[in-house]
C-alpha cells in the first residue's frame, strides 16, 4: 500500500506529520534518517525545501522550513517535502543539470507557473508543483474529505473550520473544495 492509499481512509484530523514521517521511514524504507530544521529562510522566496543525500551508505533527509511560518504552513511544507523522499528516479533532481533546471522553473513568476506546467516542464519541476497537491491529499484525506464536502456544500461548515480541523492553510482548503478535486487528484500521473 503506498502512502496515499494508506492515509486516504483516515477520518481523524489532523493527520500527524510524524505519522507521515514514520510511514516514509518504516513502511516505505526510503530513508534511514529524517531531520526537521527550522531555518532562517525568507518565506517570500522559499517556504522550505528537501535536501536528500547518501552519506556513507545511509540515506539522510533534511526537511527544512522557514522558522517564521505558522504551524499550518509548516505542516504543509513538511508533508510535501516528506513525500518527495519517495520520488522515483524520473522525478528526482539528482544531477547538476536537473537541479539547475528545477531552480529555473521555481524562479518563473507565479503568474506564469500554470503556463510552465501546461508546457510540460521537466519531471523534477512538474513534480515539485504536484507535490503540494499530493500533500494536501494526505493532510485532507479522501474519507474525511468525503464526509466534510457535503457539509461544506450545505453551508454547515466553512473552509476556515475545515482548515482548523486539518491544520492546513485555509487557502488550500478552498482549493480542495472545488467539485473537481478528486478528478484533479486522479489526473496526477
Amino acid at each position: 500500500m503506498n502512502i496515499f492509499e494508506h492515509f486516504s481512509c483516515h477520518t481523524r484530523l489532523p493527520i500527524r506529520i510524524n505519522a507521515i514521517r514514520d510511514h516514509v521511514l518504516e513502511e516505505s524504507k526510503a530513508a534511514d534518517v529524517i531531520a526537521f530544521h527550522a531555518a532562517d529562510l525568507d518565506p517570500n522566496h522559499i517556504r522550505g525545501f528537501l535536501h536528500f543525500f547518501d552519506e556513507r551508505g545511509r540515506k539522510v533527509a533534511h526537511i527544512i522550513f522557514a522558522r517564521e511560518l505558522g504551524r499550518d504552513w509548516r505542516r504543509l511544507v513538511c508533508c510535501k517535502e516528506l513525500i518527495h523522499i519517495l520520488d522515483d528516479d524520473k522525478s528526482t533532481a539528482q544531477t547538476r543539470e536537473a537541479v539547475s533546471s528545477l531552480i529555473q522553473q521555481i524562479s518563473v513568476p507565479l503568474f506564469l507557473q500554470p503556463a510552465l506546467q501546461s508546457a510540460g516542464a521537466t519531471f523534477s519541476g512538474v513534480h515539485d508543483y504536484i507535490g503540494e497537491l499530493l500533500a494536501l491529499s494526505i493532510l485532507l484525506p479522501r474519507d474525511a474529505y468525503n464526509l466534510l464536502k457535503p457539509l461544506f456544500d450545505e453551508g454547515k461548515i466553512g473552509s476556515e473550520d475545515i482548515a482548523a480541523l486539518a491544520q492546513i492553510p485555509e487557502t488550500y482548503v478552498r482549493f480542495a473544495m472545488v467539485d473537481d478535486w478528486q478528478k484533479i487528484l486522479e489526473s496526477i500521473p
Binding site: 489532523p14 526537521f36 517570500n44 556513507r56 518527495h84 523522499i85 457539509l151 480541523l165
Partner: protein, 76 residues
C-alpha cells in the same frame, strides 16, 4: 562565485556525500530570481552544517486534540 554555483558545490562537492534529491516549496512573492532561491537554500544548508538551526528528528505537531470527522458529521 554565483549563489547557484555555491549551492551546487554544497550539494555535489561535499566529501562523503552523494546527492540524491532536492525540492523546493516556492514562496508567495510573485517574482523571485534564481539567485534568491539559491541564496536562501545555501544559507540554510550552512546553518544546518554548523548546528545553527532548530533541529529535531520529529515534527513538533502541537496537536491539542484529534477529531474524528465521523463524529462531527453525526452531530450536525
Amino acid at each position: 562565485m554565483s549563489e547557484k554555483d555555491r549551492l551546487l558545490r554544497a550539494l555535489f562537492e561535499t566529501p562523503g556525500r552523494e546527492h540524491l534529491n532536492i525540492k523546493f516549496f516556492r514562496g508567495q512573492k510573485i517574482e523571485i530570481s534564481e539567485e534568491d532561491v539559491c541564496k536562501e537554500a545555501s544559507k540554510a544548508l550552512f546553518e544546518i552544517e554548523n548546528g545553527l538551526t532548530d533541529a529535531s528528528d520529529g515534527f513538533d505537531d502541537q496537536i491539542k486534540r484529534e477529531i474524528d470527522v465521523k463524529d462531527l458529521v453525526g452531530v450536525r
